[in-house]
Each structure stands twice: as structure tokens, then as C-alpha cells.
């Protein structure tokens, strides 16, 4: 049978060592790459197209979560992290399992077997994910950057550069100071994770940075339109107008 091609991504050498050690006895697994940061990990996955990835979350350059967000073809992923706060997010990203450091070998093998099942048969055991989803998520701290992919290059957009976010079916278009970028994510995600002091959802399809608003004018009977410094005009719904009023105190 074909071996399962595996990549290990963790910024701490001892953490990679123990995974390698646990995998040594498994003939079905072949380690094809190791990485100590997110960029390296993204490159390895993009070029080598592994079947399975062990992925740490807190890493320099690109976090494990951000890395998965920009992958177009997702391999089977086992998240490995020291702290529980990302677990829920990991499952939203279709991770087959996640391990909390330090983990016992039996728990590790259990995760690997789940991954092998998924790779070989395409079926999946959703039990741990459902358990986690039943847990109440911790209030996330606001994000500080958005990672987008443009062709082969990866851009980190600091949120200060984001002008507005527009809903486009299953995607969002992020307009920023040096262009625009499409990303597969929900408006809800940005509404929840952008700092509330800087961004307001003015419409079902628009979240705007309050710093970009030049003026707000009435439009039609009881709608408004926000005119940005750039000249762009965005519709403001009635509830959006209420949010703006609260945020900007007018």
C-alpha cells in the first residue's frame, strides 16, 4: 500500500522530535518534510501535497490556523497545541483531531489512526468535533492581520489597512490600501473578529472601517449611503445606520 506522506510543522524542535519518535514504528507513515514556521509549512504543503500534516498553532510568520485558511487543497490535519483556546477553531477548519501538549502515545496513535482512516476511506469520525462544538467558545481576542493568497504569494494585511469587507456568496472581498483580495470566509467571522472599535457592519453585505468614512448621506426614503475618503459609496441599511450611530456617537 502507498505510504502516507506526512509533514510536521512546529516551531519547537523537541515538539517535532516526539512526533517523529512516535511515528517511527508506523510503517504506513513516511515523513517528507519538517518545518519550524508557518511560511515554510505553507510552501511544503503547496509543493509536496502531503496526505497528512501535524500542525502547531502558535508559530512565527503564519499561525497554523491562518495557514489552513489559505490552503486551496487541504490535506488531513492534526492540530497540536499547548493550550485549549484554539481547539474549536481547529475543528471549524476540518481538522481530523487535535492534541494537547504534552500528549500520551496512545492518544497520539488514536489521532493518527483516525487520520489514516480518513485518508484511506474518506470517512470520518466526528465525535470529538461534536463534543467540542457543544462547548461554548471562548471570546476571541480581535485579529490583527488577515492572510490572503494572491497567485503563489501570501500577503499579510494588517487590519489598519483594511477599508471595507464585502460579502460575495461564500467568499468575502477585502478592500485594502493596496488593492483587494478574495477570501473564503463568512461576514460573521469578520464581524466577530475585527476590533469593534474600528469596524462597523453597516449592511448585510458590508463591514467598513470607521476611519475610512468621510460622510454619510441620506439615500432614498429611509436608507443612507456612506461615502469613503476614497470616494467609494457603500449602502447603509437601517440597522447599520443604528450601529454607526452608536459607534460614532452622532
Amino acid at each position: 500500500m502507498k505510504k502516507i506522506r506526512t509533514v510536521i510543522i512546529d516551531d519547537e524542535a523537541p515538539a517535532r522530535e516526539i512526533i517523529k519518535h512516535y511515528l517511527k514504528d508506523l510503517d504506513s507513515i513516511e515523513i517528507i518534510a519538517e518545518c519550524a514556521d508557518g511560511f515554510c509549512g505553507l510552501k511544503s504543503i503547496s509543493f509536496m501535497k502531503p496526505d497528512l500534516v501535524f500542525l502547531d498553532i502558535q508559530m512565527p510568520r503564519l499561525t497554523g490556523i491562518e495557514l489552513v485558511e489559505v490552503l486551496t487543497e487541504k490535506p488531513v490535519i492534526i492540530f497540536i497545541t499547548a493550550y485549549d483556546q484554539f481547539a474549536l477553531k481547529a475543528f471549524e477548519l476540518n481538522a481530523v483531531d487535535y492534541l494537547l501538549k504534552p500528549f500520551p502515545k496512545i492518544r497520539f496513535l488514536d489521532a493518527v489512526n483516525k487520520a489514516i482512516d480518513k485518508i484511506r476511506s474518506g470517512t470520518e469520525n466526528l465525535e470529538p468535533a461534536n463534543q467540542l462544538l457543544a462547548k461554548k467558545p471562548e471570546p476571541a481576542s480581535p485579529i490583527n492581520r488577515v492572510v490572503v493568497r494572491k497567485g503563489n504569494s501570501i500577503n499579510l494585511i494588517p487590519i489598519e489597512q483594511i477599508k471595507y469587507v464585502e460579502a460575495q456568496d461564500d467568499y468575502v472581498m477585502i478592500y485594502h490600501s493596496s488593492g483587494k483580495a478574495l477570501k473564503q470566509q463568512t461576514m460573521k467571522y469578520y464581524e466577530d473578529n475585527l476590533p469593534v472599535a474600528d469596524f462597523v457592519r453597516i449592511h448585510r453585505s458590508y463591514i467598513v472601517s470607521v476611519h475610512e468614512i468621510n460622510r454619510i448621506e441620506p439615500y432614498g426614503k429611509d436608507n443612507h449611503v456612506a461615502i469613503l475618503h476614497s470616494g467609494d459609496k457603500l449602502p447603509v441599511s437601517r440597522s447599520g445606520y443604528k450601529h454607526l450611530k452608536e459607534e460614532l456617537n452622532f
Partner: protein, 351 residues
């Protein structure tokens, strides 16, 4: 409440001096007004004021009783007027009876008594007023100082609680990642694993034992920080490099325990966690004008980080400095050419 006069020798002397003053006043007054009764007026005055003084001393007990919390002003006034009337009546009856007993010229005394009667009432009310005033002044002073002491106690309690909260907690991320490293090292390098467990234990012992707010020497603080950095070096290997320039003369200076820990945690978090380059943490400690200057700097990746820091670590250190040293210590930070520097000034002989 204790009796304000009887329990204090100085106050007792002052008390009698005031009565002597009152007595001479009354004697002079009566002498000039009713000159012919000089022989009577002097002993009468002395006796009457001794009696009044005795009554006045005992008035303290009903007064401190009247003053119980929650007494309505109207009942307080009624009580005071009633006890005043009783005291003055008692005083006059006692004075008159005793004088009539001891004085041979009884008819003269009756005449004198009738002549001075309105003045006596006046004096009685005046003195009663003085007593009420001085007792209540005393009571309110006591209450004020008690209130102040209570406030001071409360304030120090609040401060203590706040200090406890501000003391840096061990970061769970650090703990679990370190334990994971140990778990890995037990297989690849058991010797190193044991070393790491010992260091981690020592670090934890230090962090956990500093529950009280006793200051520690810079020497032990830096020894502990070295443990912390050594543990991080096991995790991150060559990526983390530290360099110390510490003036030996500073090492006995006392500072609050675990004060510097959050600053190094920040250096690791924003430096090592976010960078793929070598991160150098440089510590400099020297004495300048009776202050220890501690400078901690690290390089960092200038790209946008995944999460913005909340600034809690730095704020906590600043707040602790303020609570401990008032305005005698300070903390500054600068960001220049990819180097983050935090500088603390702490008085050398504060504790």
C-alpha cells in the same frame, strides 16, 4: 469608650486648671456684685465648683450612651436637656445643703443664696454647655481618627489585593509547552530532560513561593529569570540568545518579586514566538544617581503579528511600580530599528 479625663493624667490636670479658672471667675464676679458676702462667696464658690466638677465627670457616662449610633437628633437633644436640668438641680441642692450645714452664719447664707440664685442658674447652664461641647468635640475627634484608621486599613487591604492580582501568573502556554519538551527529551536525551524538570521545578517553586509581597534581591530575581530563559532555550534552541551586562553592585538592591518576569515573557512572546530569525535578549543593569537602571531589549519581526498584544504585562509592571514606589520609580519603552527596549529606574535603597 474610655473616660476621656479620668484615664489620662495630662487631661486630668487640664481639667482641674479649667475649673480653677472658672472658680476664680465666679468668685471675682460674685465679690464685685455682692461685696459684702466675701467671707461666704469664696468657700461657696469653691465648694459649688468641686461639686459641679464631680457631676461633670460622671456626665461622660450618660453622654457616651446618648451618642449611640442611630440616635435621632430630637431624642439626643431631649436627653441632653433633661440631664442638664437634673445636673443643675442636683448641683444647687447639694451646694445649698452642704453650705447650710457647714456655715455658722446661716441667715447670711440664705440671703446670699437668694441674691445669687439667677446667676447660679446662668453659671450652671453655661458650664453645662461647655461640658457638652467639650465631650462632643472629643467624641467626634475620636470618631474621625477611628474613621481615618479604618480607611487606611481598607486602603492597604485593597492595595494588597491589587498587588496579588498584578503579580504575574505563570503563563499556561509556557508551562504546557515546557512539559511537552520534557516529554520529548525523555526519549531523545534523558539527561537533558532531567535537567529541564529540575529547572522547571525551581522556577515554579520560586514563582509559587513568592505569595507574600516581601521584596527580593535583584540577584535572586535574575537567578530565577535565568532558569526561565534556560527553559525557553531548550524549547527554541539556537533561535534564542541572551546576553547580560550586570553591575555586581546592583545585585543586593531589593525589588518586588517577579517584577521583571512579564518583561521577559513579552520579549519571548513578541520576539521569539513571532520571528524566524535569531532573537537576542540583552539585559543591562547599572547604577545611576541612586537608581538602578534595568534595560531589557530584544529584536522582533516588524511584520504584522497574528494577534495584537493586549499590553497587560507592561501595564501590570507599571502599576506594581506605582503601588510600591509611588513616583520614585519609572518605566519607559522604545521601539527603534526593529529593537524593542524597556527601561526601568528603581531606587537602590527603597526597601
Amino acid at each position: 469608650m474610655k473616660h476621656p479625663v479620668l484615664n489620662n493624667r495630662v487631661r486630668l490636670i487640664v481639667w482641674w486648671l479649667v475649673w480653677l479658672f472658672l472658680a476664680s471667675g465666679q468668685t471675682l464676679l460674685f465679690y464685685y456684685a455682692f461685696g459684702k458676702f466675701a467671707k461666704i462667696s469664696i468657700p461657696d464658690t469653691i465648694l459649688s465648683l468641686i461639686i459641679y466638677s464631680g457631676i461633670a465627670l460622671s456626665l461622660w457616662y450618660p453622654f457616651s450612651y446618648f451618642n449611640k449610633e442611630g440616635t435621632k437628633p430630637i431624642s439626643l437633644i431631649t436627653n441632653l436637656v433633661a440631664s442638664g436640668a437634673i445636673s443643675i438641680t442636683l448641683w444647687m441642692v447639694l451646694t445649698k445643703s452642704i453650705m447650710l450645714l457647714v456655715l455658722p452664719e446661716q441667715n447670711n447664707y440664705r440671703e446670699y443664696w437668694d441674691a445669687t440664685f439667677p446667676y447660679r442658674i446662668g453659671t450652671g447652664v453655661f458650664i453645662y454647655g461647655l461640658i457638652v461641647l467639650s465631650y462632643y468635640l472629643f467624641i467626634s475627634l475620636i470618631n474621625l481618627s477611628e474613621k481615618k484608621a479604618k480607611e487606611a486599613r481598607l486602603e492597604s487591604l485593597v492595595k494588597e489585593t491589587e498587588l496579588k492580582m498584578l503579580r504575574s501568573q505563570i503563563n499556561p502556554h509556557f508551562l504546557f509547552n515546557s512539559l511537552n519538551s520534557v516529554s520529548s527529551l525523555t526519549i531523545t536525551d534523558p539527561e537533558k530532560a532531567r535537567d529541564m524538570v529540575i529547572k522547571l521545578s525551581e522556577f515554579m517553586r520560586y514563582a509559587l513561593s513568592k505569595k507574600d509581597e516581601q521584596p527580593v534581591s535583584l540577584r535572586s530575581e535574575f537567578e530565577n529569570l535565568k532558569l526561565y530563559l534556560d527553559i525557553e532555550k531548550v524549547r527554541f534552541g539556537d533561535k534564542l540568545f541572551t546576553e547580560d551586562h550586570i553591575d555586581e553592585n546592583c545585585l543586593e538592591t531589593k525589588i518586588p518579586a517577579m517584577l521583571l518576569q512579564p518583561l521577559y515573557e513579552n520579549a519571548i512572546k513578541h520576539g521569539v514566538y513571532e520571528s524566524i530569525e535569531l532573537v537576542k535578549i540583552i539585559t543591562q543593569v547599572k547604577i545611576i544617581d541612586g537608581h538602578v537602571e534595568i534595560t531589557i531589549s530584544n529584536n522582533y519581526d516588524s511584520g504584522p503579528s497574528s494577534k495584537k498584544g493586549t499590553g497587560t504585562g507592561l501595564l501590570n509592571v507599571a502599576r506594581r511600580l506605582e503601588l510600591y514606589y509611588g513616583n520614585k520609580a519609572s518605566i519607559n519603552t522604545t521601539k527603534e530599528n526593529g529593537i524593542y527596549t524597556v527601561t526601568l529606574y528603581i531606587p537602590t535603597d527603597y526597601f
